[in-house]
């Protein structure tokens, strides 16, 4: 699809910016390029049916289109937020093009129709990220993060490939349609190694979405990487990983669900409980946000696995959750970046820069799931889906962990309103201030009007 060509073209263009010297306008050009890429996406009016392209390697069906929209839009917001990070120091062109390749990988992960493409997309995304995580070359933490991420990431990729190979062995195909048909045609004679392959693929993908117990890399990597890259990992990369997970497990392996749902339930319980409790003990806001990002995966997976149990997984609620979470997290990370530039303490932030504190307040309330913010509507959908599948105990567990999460989110809020803190004002540039304001509005608007039915038409569901 032309979208991919455009994104790849923008990436290459960013690479050569260093040579033909238009770095000054690079971020703007890249943003325009990405927005242009959206124009090439098919717009469905009533159903999301579409034909596979590139010898059935990719399939831009309804969900893929919506996931792509989300990925690109969040990236645009991210580029706006991180213009400062990209410009700072040397290698502006390299960093920008790596980010674009992350997006390229992410879009492939949302639209693959062939296991080989899944692998390719995942690797394009991961390799770019390894380099980005280490992009602050004078910081030991950043290098440590890159190294850890690389080691653990390649390990997980190994699992994924092994899983793909086993599934191929059983079904004689990489093509998702064929694998699906194979599972439909031989429901009782599936060989044991097919199941082993499914579980290994699950491990590989769950690692990428950093669910417990495959999350150990995440806090260290999130903390060490430059904050802008951390926010990229928490938003765009997470959306891509969940999109891929949905494509494989919500769709292709849906029929073999009885095999892997018990494992998923275990993962959900762990992912709800452990990060939420660990986050309480964090002393750094960045690390706390890392754990919170893991915890949110728990809610998404809770809805996901409950929906699998009822049959088809409508990705709408996942997309809404990801959108709400990404917007809230971008707002929080943006404030965090500005705070880091100004001494790194949240204490008394309200008295130092009112609007920054209000943005952070709304972002945190949204992540904690308090109405009328976006995060509430997102959790509302998840609870709804899970209750429809009769998962009352898990929903109650999710309620308990939500309440726990309030405790650590509110530690930042309490600190921001600390009256005895130093009061040197924090001054931020006006684009950053406008960005904060836009995020604030987005969080509230998404929360007040969580109407997702137009999307459901696009997806033909």
């Amino acid at each position: 699809m032309n979208t991919l060509f455009v994104i790849a073209g923008v990436g290459v263009l960013a690479l050569v910016a260093e040579i033909i010297n238009f770095k000054r306008w690079l971020t703007i050009i890249v943003m325009l390029g990405l927005a242009g890429a959206l124009a090439f996406l098919p717009l469905y009016t009533d159903n999301g049916k579409s034909d596979p392209i590139f010898n059935a390697m990719l399939l831009f069906d309804g969900p893929a289109v919506v996931f792509t929209w989300l990925i690109v839009l969040i990236t645009l917001l991210w580029l706006w937020m991180s213009a400062g990070y990209l410009k700072e120091g040397t290698h502006q062109a390299d960093k920008t093009s790596l980010v674009i390749f992350v997006v390229l990988g992410a879009v492939i992960m949302a639209s693959f129709n062939n296991m080989a493409m899944l692998f390719l997309g995942l690797e394009i995304l991961s390799l770019s990220l390894y380099a980005l995580a280490g992009s602050k070359k004078d910081s030991l933490g950043s290098i440590e993060a890159a190294f850890k991420y690389f080691l653990m990431g390649s390990f997980a990729t190994g699992f994924l490939i092994f899983g793909i190979a086993l599934v191929y062995g059983a079904s004689h195909s990489f093509d998702l349609g064929h694998i699906f048909q194979y599972a439909v045609n031989n429901p009782d004679t599936l060989p044991g190694y097919f199941y082993a392959g499914v579980l290994l693929m699950m491990v590989g993908l769950v690692f990428k979405i950093s669910a417990v117990p495959f999350h150990f890399w995440a806090p260290d990597v999130y903390e060490g990487a430059p904050t802008a890259i951390t926010s990229l990992m928490a938003t765009v990369v997470k959306i891509a990983a969940i999109a891929a997970f949905w494509r494989i497990f919500g769709f292709i392996f849906g029929l073999t669900a009885p095999l892997w749902t018990p494992v998923m339930y275990g993962i959900v319980v762990l992912t709800l409980v452990i990060p939420n409790i660990t986050a309480i003990y964090q002393q750094k806001a960045k690390r706390m946000l890392a754990y919170s990002s893991i915890a949110h995966v728990g809610y998404i997976l809770l809805g996901f696995v409950a929906a699998v149990q009822r049959g088809f997984v409508n990705p709408l609620f996942i997309i809404f959750y990801l959108a709400a979470y990404s917007v809230s997290s971008l707002a929080a990370f943006s404030v965090l970046m500005k705070v880091e530039e100004n001494g790194g303490s949240f204490a008394g932030l309200y008295y130092r820069n009112k609007w920054m504190a209000v943005t952070m307040l709304v972002a945190l309330l949204s992540m904690a799931g308090i109405p009328p913010m976006a995060g509430f509507a997102a959790k509302y959908f998840v609870f709804m889906v899970a209750l429809a599948a009769g998962q009352l105990p898990l929903v109650l567990l999710a309620v308990v962990t939500s309440v726990i999460s309030v405790y650590y989110y509110f530690r930042i809020i309490i600190s921001m309103f600390d009256k005895d803190a130093p009061v040197e004002p924090v001054v931020i540039s006006w684009p950053a201030a406008i960005f904060h304001f836009v995020m604030l509005i987005l969080i509230i608007v998404l929360g007040l009007f969580p109407s997702i039915s137009p999307l459901s038409k696009i997806m033909g569901i």
Partner: protein, 498 residues
């Protein structure tokens, strides 16, 4: 149908004022906020004049909102919501006036948050869509939390976070309960949406065991808000640490959200659940009455004493509601209004004492009567209202409530009536220790009521007496609605019990 939008106006106007005040800081936010709330008060009085108690929902508006998930902006006013709307619109201007001699840091934000609070409270009392109700219910928590955190007198925010987590835990359980009613009813999204009538229908058709289960999920949320024993542990600390205006908002208006929730969203929805567990809830409430009264007896600080007395009074209201009788619920309606006035008055009196003497501990007080006769008179009237002396508003409500409890079961009524005796004891002891006796030197400088204080206290005193002498108009507002509610309940209960 232009009048229909008055409810919407009542909800959205304070929110608009909040945005205005926070977005464009004003030179004199106190008076701007006061002007806004006076407009609200005037509108609510106009609505009272045009209100027809016998009719069902009025000033009702139903606007599709988030259609895909079935939420409508479905608001209106009936006999059960109207007294509480009136209470809110009456008390909020008084609460703002009561801060007239205070100079808060960041007044725009403070008064803005009070207005946001008003918007959320009226939203809670007028929502006829359960998810909308829930959204307003939670929305009310944010401003009060920030008020307590920013202007309260504590360092670490530990008490306020306890308060927040406590109430949020209850609310989330309620949300799960609400969604559970939908999910187990037809195994999917409710096509008819979340309106009150749909919700009543769905609730009734649940099997009794599920109803009992959902009952607890929702009751806990309301019980924490009120608070009913044993869910009250957040309350005394929060009342003491919050700024006075925050305490007034919490005790005078916000706890009524819990009682209103029980009347509107619990009892009619889950008849079998209430039939099974209502008695337990009632007994918990009665235990709370005695327990809180006894603790109030040994308090040495006026503010904590009133905090505990508030638990006792609310326990009585909650017990009356769970009798599910007309007089019980009518008593609750009138007592909610009266308790709001009285507790507001008491906290304001304490604030004045604290402001002028620097302490609310009994050991630092005494002898105020000798130097401040007008202040003492106001104190006496409000206190007598609190101990339910005949001819005060407190008497009307408590009489009906205890009457309903005696009819429900004599010994429960007898235990609950202890509240009047114990209440009289601790309030009179409090009066004696703080007001009579020899004036200590620093008390001698106690100045009597200023003009600003009179403007706040005299309306409260007058209202307490008027409602006590002539409660008819206020009772007439809610009577038909309460009777209809109880009738529909008894039909249901008789159909459940063969």
């Amino acid at each position: 149908m232009s009048e229909a939008f008055l409810t919407v106006f009542l909800i959205l106007f304070p929110m608009f004022m909040f945005l205005l005040m926070v977005g464009m800081p004003h030179k004199n936010p106190k008076w701007l906020a006061l002007a806004g709330t006076v407009v609200e008060f005037a509108v609510s009085i106009y609505m009272w004049v045009n209100f027809d108690p016998a009719a069902d929902r009025q000033f009702a508006v139903r606007i599709p909102w988030a259609n895909s998930i079935g939420i409508t902006f479905n608001v209106g006013i009936d006999g059960i919501s109207f007294p509480l709307v009136l209470l809110t619109t009456t008390l909020i201007p008084l609460i703002i006036l009561s801060s007239s001699d205070k100079n808060f840091n960041r007044p725009s934000l403070f008064y803005g948050l009070v207005l946001l609070m008003q918007s959320a409270l009226i939203g809670v009392f007028t929502s006829f869509d359960v998810i909308l109700f829930y959204i307003f219910w939670e929305l009310a928590l944010i401003p009060i939390y920030l008020i307590c955190l920013i202007w309260g007198n504590e360092k670490e925010g530990k008490v306020t976070i306890k308060f927040f987590i406590y109430t949020l835990a209850g609310s989330l359980l309620m949300l799960v309960g609400i969604l559970y009613v939908y999910m187990s009813s037809d195994g999917g999204l409710a096509p008819a949406g979340f309106s009150l009538t749909t919700f009543y229908e769905l609730g009734k058709h649940l099997d009794p065991r599920t109803q009992g289960f959902v009952f607890w999920m929702m009751f806990v949320a309301f019980a924490i808000k009120m608070p009913v024993f044993p869910f009250h542990t957040w309350q005394p600390e929060t009342y003491t640490k919050a700024p006075t205006q925050g305490t007034m908002l919490l005790s005078a208006i916000m706890l009524k959200m819990g009682i209103y929730g029980v009347i509107r969203w619990l009892i009619p929805v889950l008849p079998a659940g209430v039939a099974e567990w209502g008695n337990t809830a009632l007994i918990l409430s009665v235990i709370g009455i005695v327990y809180a009264s006894c603790i109030a007896l040994v308090q040495t600080n006026l503010k904590t004493l009133v905090a505990y007395s508030s638990i006792a009074h609310v326990g009585l209201i909650s017990a009356g509601v769970f009798t599910q009788s007309v007089i019980g619920i009518q008593g609750a309606m009138i007592q909610m209004f009266s308790h709001g006035l009285i507790v507001f008055g008491l906290f304001y009196l304490i604030d004045i004492i604290q402001h002028k003497t620097g302490s609310a501990e009994f050991k630092d007080l005494g002898g105020i009567r000798n130097v401040a006769p007008k202040f003492t008179t106001a104190f006496v009237v409000i206190m007598l209202g609190s101990v339910a002396l005949p001819l005060t508003s407190g008497f009307v409500g408590e009489f009906l409530l205890i009457n309903s409890l005696v009819q429900y079961q004599v010994w429960i009524g007898a235990v609950a009536a202890l509240t009047i005796i114990l209440g009289a004891v601790y309030m009179l002891v409090a009066f004696q220790k703080s007001m009579s006796g020899e004036a200590q030197p620093h008390i001698a400088a106690f100045t009597d009521l200023s003009m600003g204080e009179k403007v706040v206290l005299y309306p409260v005193v007058i209202l307490i007496v008027i409602i006590g002498v002539y409660p008819g108009p206020l009772m007439a507002v809610s009577e038909p609605a309460v009777t209809a509610l109880v009738n529909s309940l008894s039909e249901l209960t008789s159909s459940i019990r063969p």
